[in-house]
Amino acid sequence: MSSVMIDTGNYIAAKAAVMARPDVVAAYPITPQTTLVEGIANYRDTGEFKGEYICVESEHSAMSACIGASAAGVRTFTGTSSHGLLLMHEMLHWAALARLPIVMCNINRVVGPGWNIWADENDSVSQRDTGWIQFYCSSNQEIFDTVIQAFKLAEHEKISLPVMISYNAFILSHTSMPVYIPEQEEVDDFIPKRKPLWKLDVDNPITFGNIILPHEYEKVRRDMQNAQEYAKKLIVEINRDWEKRFGRYHGDLLELYKCDDAEYILVAMGAIGSESKVTVDNMRKEGYKIGLARLRVFRPFPGEEIVKLGDKADLIVIDRNVSIGLGGAVFNEVKASLYGKSDAKVYGYIAGLGGKDVTYGDIEKMCKKVVDGKAKHMEWYGFEKGGV
């Protein structure tokens, strides 16, 4: 039996986090922080959340507190956004290298200046090399399901890596949608209490996160890479198990939509990914053979699946982020995945930075420009008339 809850992405994420029964949540409450951690604090007040809530003095401390708690063997959760995530940067590396299965929601918000708290994925995309597994969600239901699934993935004995679940500010974080909420017992059955591989324990002392010599250090990094490769399989398994238990499926590493006979396939993450479905439906009515591959998982990057898409279609990638001096992050990683394995053409658009609205009509214009053969290899959408 499940119930339906109508609420914003943030409060849905808070509900999911509390139902996962973390022992410790550490968070810093001030902007760019969102209502996510207020939601958890409220559950602490009502008694529904029975763990420790540590209100710390910065995001660097929030991640540090999660690292300490996770190292002591308990389940931990936190939430942050934009500059908060960037302040954590050092400790994000630390958590991943120490193989601590912390789960965190990041609300994709602009990095300033200019100050702005709308949707933009540069905050989490710039953390792609830290070793964290990264999900990008496109609906509140997907946020709920992914938060619960993330604990199963992170705490798996062959993974033991932290997981970040990102979703676009306002478009998801502050928009209410109906979400199916399973029973607590069903969640408990899906993610039983964490069994740490090791822990800080005064009765059985170990030093951990200590000095290692060069020939040993490389093994640590290599094992993280292997774990992320294994995560590609495990994410699919967890999704299948979830579908069997709860009847919901949001796609595996990619969510494929009308790709079977497509000659062009859109590739996008987050809210632009869900908006693109409307574009695909509209263009299909006009006879265009177009599909969508929404990127759910950015790390590990699903290169093999991208190659399969490239076998049958040209790709149109829309990035709500930009690696300055190169281009859109997804665009470039898609091209890197295809290199030497596919002759597919890849077109890249940068759109929606700073929370600029990207409607299905905008996406349709981008696609038609590609189909009409007028699109450049990579361009910024909305600057066609020149000017700054």
Binding site: L97, A98, R99, E157, K158, S160, L197, W198, P205, I206, T207, F208, G209, N210, I211, I212, E216, K219, V220, R222, D223, A227
Partner: protein, 90 residues
């Protein structure tokens, strides 16, 4: 030693986990037992546990692991420990 499925950095408490750190030393603590009053301040303050406490509360220095930080010489109230440069010409 316990086997894990992941590669990470864990060490179990053991003497000299980082090897023989005595060769890091530039200055060496030299103890004058005639001046020592057995107050054990050096034993308390040594961060590396390389002051060896004997049964009669006299002390010795474990040069295999002493890194030569000089704290023992600094806290010694009677000047029984002095720091001397390693490899000094006689």
């Amino acid at each position: 030693m316990k086997k894990y499925n992941v590669v990470t950095t864990i060490s179990y408490p053991t003497k000299g986990a980082m090897g023989k750190t005595g060769n890091w030393r530039v200055f060496k603590p030299v103890l004058d037992k005639n001046k020592c009053v057995k107050c054990l301040r050096c034993w308390v303050y040594c961060p590396e546990a390389t002051i060896i406490r004997n049964k009669d509360d006299s002390v010795d220095i474990d040069y295999e692991y002493c890194k030569g930080c000089g704290i023992c010489a600094d806290v010694c109230k009677v000047g029984a420990i002095v720091m001397e440069r390693e490899g000094k010409r006689e």
